[in-house]
């Protein structure tokens, strides 16, 4: 089922003419001319669309909150920071279907009463930024953006802002700080951005994929969308599949596909002669699943139920050659590097966790270190200021729980990984 990826295989897909061929910019005039802002919000509520940035918050509710705040101006921010390791699905939309994002933002603007939009795009996507800028210019020329859109009296302006490479700036409040020219660090919540966002004014922050889902919902109706996927998590989802599979890539599938189906039917299965060992279903910050969990459905609720999370839908698949201690080490190094440094547990704790993993990998670990790791990780999880710290320890905790023997091998002085490498050659 192709909703989000309906346009990407067209020649010159990013061009406005390619977009217009397939009902592009039909939803926007319909919303502007035929619907009241509340009706647009209601339609999104009917669709039960949940945010694709990681937290899965209902988009309609978020818009509703922002629309109820009477202060002006308001802002729509498209979160295109896509920083979670293993995630590359927003990039596909940005580069191949930028107008779907712009149309979604304009509709969101109309719904909540915002006249300004920002696209905060990660600095590592220079091509995407240029494509978006060109698309904005195209849309302005045809009056889909800018002043008095299609003579409706509605104004909506979009500006592209390039990030400077910090993962934390994908977190919506840190993003806003960064957009305001400050150091990218999360803010205290509440108040939430819907009331106190950019310049302390009402602001909706939505992920690229969330916004790209909007125009189809307005076009076909919320009920149509709500019937796709699972009841709690409707719609299609872009899964970024990476790792030891035959065909890594972005797959659009109805929410709730099982890990097994995704890996073995869509991504071509494991590499030759290799068997599935584990997968991180929601990027680096999710808890890993092992072989026994291949039939878990990849949606917000099902993954939460097994102690992991869907996050941005970045499925990182590992086969039997993977050394889970090294995997945990690599991932924690990422978070240690990306910790913004604001709060004590994340800043100091990740430094500590990494040092302990260093020691284990260097053969200086003890069994007590595993309990220490779990205790320190729990400290980080339960006391960190923001989601980064909270989720950062998932790869360590989940690998210790599910692959403790690999840690023990290091502690005892034998390397599982080494032995399996020997086997392979």
């Amino acid at each position: 089922m192709k909703i989000l990826t309906r346009n990407i295989d067209r020649p010159n897909p990013a061009h406005i003419d390619s977009y217009l061929v397939n009902e592009g910019y039909v939803a926007l005039p319909r919303a502007l001319n035929e619907m009241k802002p509340e009706e647009v919000i209601d339609e999104v509520k009917f669709s039960r669309l949940r945010g694709r940035g990681g937290a899965g918050f209902p988009a309609g509710m978020k818009w509703d909150f922002a629309s109820r705040d009477r202060r002006k101006p308001k802002y729509i921010i498209c979160n295109a920071d896509e920083g979670e390791p293993g995630t590359f699905k927003d990039r596909v939309l940005i580069e191949k279907d930028p107008h779907a994002i712009l149309e979604g933002m304009a509709i969101a603007g109309y719904a909540v009463g915002a006249e300004y939009g920002f696209i905060y795009i990660r600095g590592e996507y220079p091509v995407g930024a240029r494509i978006l800028e060109r698309a904005i210019a195209e849309a302005e020329k045809r009056s889909f953006l800018g002043r008095n859109i299609l003579n409706s009296g509605f104004n909506f302006h979009i500006v592209v802002h390039r990030g400077a490479g910090a993962y934390i700036c994908g977190e919506e409040t840190a993003l806003i700080e960064s957009l305001e020219g400050k150091r990218g660090q999360s803010r205290i919540r509440p108040p939430f951005p819907v009331n106190v966002g950019y310049s302390n004014l009402p602001t909706v922050v939505n992920n690229v994929e969330t916004l790209a889902s909007v125009a189809p919902i307005i076009l076909r109706g919320g009920n149509w969308y709500a019937n796709i996927g699972t009841h709690e998590c409707p719609g299609t989802k872009l899964y970024s599949v990476s790792g030891h599979v035959r065909n890594p890539g972005v797959y659009e599938l109805p929410m709730g596909v099982t890990l097994r189906e995704l890996v073995f039917e869509h991504a071509g299965g494991m590499r030759e002669n290799r068997t599935f060992k584990a997968a991180f279903p929601g990027g680096a910050s999710s808890a890993c699943l092992d072989e026994s969990e291949l039939d878990v459905r990849l949606d917000f609720n099902s993954l939460a139920a097994v102690g992991s999370m869907l996050g941005s839908g970045a499925v990182m698949v590992l086969d039997d050659t993977a050394d889970m201690v090294k995997v945990a080490h690599v991932l924690i190094k990422f978070f240690e590097h990306e910790s913004c440094g604001k709060c004590t547990p994340c800043r100091e704790g990740l430094f500590w966790v990494r040092r302990v993993l260093d020691a284990i990998l260097e053969g200086r670990g003890t069994e007590a270190d595993l309990d220490l790791l779990l205790d320190v990780c729990e400290g980080i999880r339960s006391t960190s200021f923001c989601g980064l710290g909270e989720a950062s320890i998932n790869p360590v905790v989940s690998t210790i729980k599910k692959f403790r023997h690999e840690y023990m091998a290091y502690i005892r002085g034998q390397s599982l990984a080494e032995s399996s490498m020997e086997e392979a050659s």
Partner: protein
Amino acid sequence: MVRLTIDGSQIMVDGNLKVLDAAKKLGIHIPTFCDHPRLSELGACRMCLVEVEGMGKLQTACTLAVADGMVVLTDTPRVEHARKMMLEFLLINHPLECTVCDASGECTLQDFAFKYGSAETRFRGEKRVLRDHIISPLIDRNLNRCIQCKRCVRICDEIQGVTALGMSYRGAATVVGPFMDKDLDCEYCSHCIWSCPVGAITSRAMKQKVRTWELEKAEAICPFCSCGCTLLYNTRNNIVHRVTHAEGRGVNQGSLCSKGYFGYDIINHPDRITSPLVRDPEGSLRTATWDEALDTVAGRLSQILEESGGESIGGIATDRLTNEELFLFQKLFRVGFASNNIDIPSGVWSRAVLPVLEERLGVFAATNSMDELNYVNALLLIGCDITVASPIAGLKVKHAIQRGGLVTEITPKGTALSRLAKRSLVVSLGKELAFVKGLIKVVLEEGLYDEKAVGGHKRFSNLEFSVKGRDLKTIARDLDLTVDDIADTAREFASAQKASVVFGETAALQPGGQDLINALIDLMILTGKLGQEGCGLYPVITNTNFQGAVDMGVDPGRLPGHVPADSPSVRKHLEKIWKAKLPKAKGMNALEMIQAASDGSLKALYLVGVNPVASFPGGSGVTEALEKLDFLVVQELFLTETALRADVVLPAVSTAEKNGTLTSMERRIQRTQRAIEGVGHSMPDWRIFSQLGTACGKEVMKYVNAAEVLEEIAEVVPYYSGVSHRILADNGLQWPFSKEDAREIYHEGYLGTRHLLGDGLPSDKQRFAAVENWETISPDADFPMTLVLGDLLFHSGTFTRYSESLNKLASEATLFMNPQTGIGLDVPEGSAVRAISAQGEFSVRVAYAEELAPGVLFIPRHFANAPAGTLMVSTREGGTETAVVRVRVVKA
């Protein structure tokens, strides 16, 4: 109001509070690092975690708003574990060098680790070590001790408005420091030092000099400016080792400036004079006993009095002295020497500026309180670099700006506020008047005046007539401003509910300063901005106890309480109490005294804390005049250029070494208390005056302590009637006050009169001056430039020259000029020039400063290398301080 339960105790609190505040009210201590009552919330350290019923995760008490029915637990195993964990986290990378850390003993991390931490660490391995370097001569940073609480960063930004500090890099590599880790370039207000909960930002001035727990603290009033800040002298073995702030106390509420915080090293400076000196027959100064010195002074002065009369004896005292001392000084002269020849160096303010306020408004001081500046909606700052002239008032203006107050600055020179103010208009000296008249014009033309206030004014048409001569466009063009600059300022000012005017010395002390003040008063009357909260007229006079000196009658023409010296009734009253005949004729002012010394009619001069050789107008003529005197007494802390020429030198003490009261720029009478005994054989000035008076045979000069002097002040000085230590209590009292009210309710927070003119302007004052002039300085072909003599943020008169710390921040004068001016004169930056006035000249190096108006020069007045004060032209009012001098600059 909401009701919540914390550890089983219920409490009703304001719904805007945080759980931390509510717990505090219940006396429940929750440990915190990053929270600070004066700063925005951050929630970063996670030390204050508590359990809240119904919330899964632990919550930070400092950020969690109270809610009705909330149940909070601060004392559970989970909370205890979290605290242990936070401390363990913080300590893994902490250097644990308490042995050499100056914060040891008052370090929050040390205290909490002891109280809540675990005795063991589970961390093995190497600590993170960050590369560090020295960022400033006075402020030490130690990155490895930093716990990233951002209190320093926030206080520098939110309270001081400077933003000199920030955080760079991420995660465990995060470092705090100046932009790009360059040298610290800031106001040195010290906020960052004392807000740091650990020893990561410390004062280099006390580095490893003393352990904090050995220090005793004594509250006193800062001696360096008229803000009247409360501070704590930290002493050990009769040495002041540092100053600390007194959180939440006094007008400054804990804030200080660079002088207040770092200037204390003057007190125990090795060059202090520790015993009296008397010139021996061979002509050199030698040590003497107090008896000998005082007998010499009393003997010589009595002799001169007998031979030549009181008119031949004069005295000039610094307005840094306490009220008691200033009172005794004038009493000594009037009673002991029958002389009205008494003055302070800043007499020009009391003779040229305050009389304008007295005549127009009937007040002899700033009309409103400093604190009201915090809340103004519109403010006109004219010729006043308020951050420098009055640092704490400046802070309040910064806070007004943060609250959305619209500040318009009219200045010949960019200031620390230029960046923050709504508009900073660089206007050449002498043209400010045209700007103010432009405002009046807009108010009149647009009908923005206050009908009620203007209703009965007789000279309304005169005011209209006085601004007819030029249209707004011409005014704007001449000032190099836009019409909107003037019109918008006028509209904002007129429409603001709380609008005030602050003017400083470059406005008031220029040749036609009175016209400017009159025009400002016209503007305020016209717009109805007098006589209410937030609407005030503030002359900013930096000198510490200027107001006290004027109130005490250290003036050749006024008795205590601003009463003219020839007032028969008051003289009679005083004569009865003082058992002496008081001189009737007006005495000489400071400059007239120097003049009289030079022509031989003044025989003896008694200088207290003033250094005319370095700072009086007249150049070498001053030295020559002093040499002609029969007898020169200098009462001082240091052997200044002037003291070296004295016949007797009397060692006095600093504020830290004496008791007394001071009156701040907002008429606040405050107590200051002794922190250490006088250094060596030095004595408080009041005691010296008293003993000298007694030695001259005046029993009425006998006092056992300063409190006894205050009792007399309470009896004879109007506005101070009924003052006593008891009613001054904690925060002092703003005159005028009702002594009954003060006695009855002082403990309930009676603080005197916040603003004068509380009942509005008296009807006989309801008229306009309608100034005819448009300029206050007329061109002078021989001296085409105007030189502004001003203060630097880091110094106070010539007194702070003796602070080694402050000298590290600035110790030499350069002549600042706009690059355009420099190029015009063909003097490149760094080249030497001669600045020449009608009175004298000196050479100095040039520095360029973009923020100066063309043709305007600026020089700090503090330093010996360029005694700019000596260039000044004596004004007709006889002040020795003026802010503006006409000069010509030539290549040296």
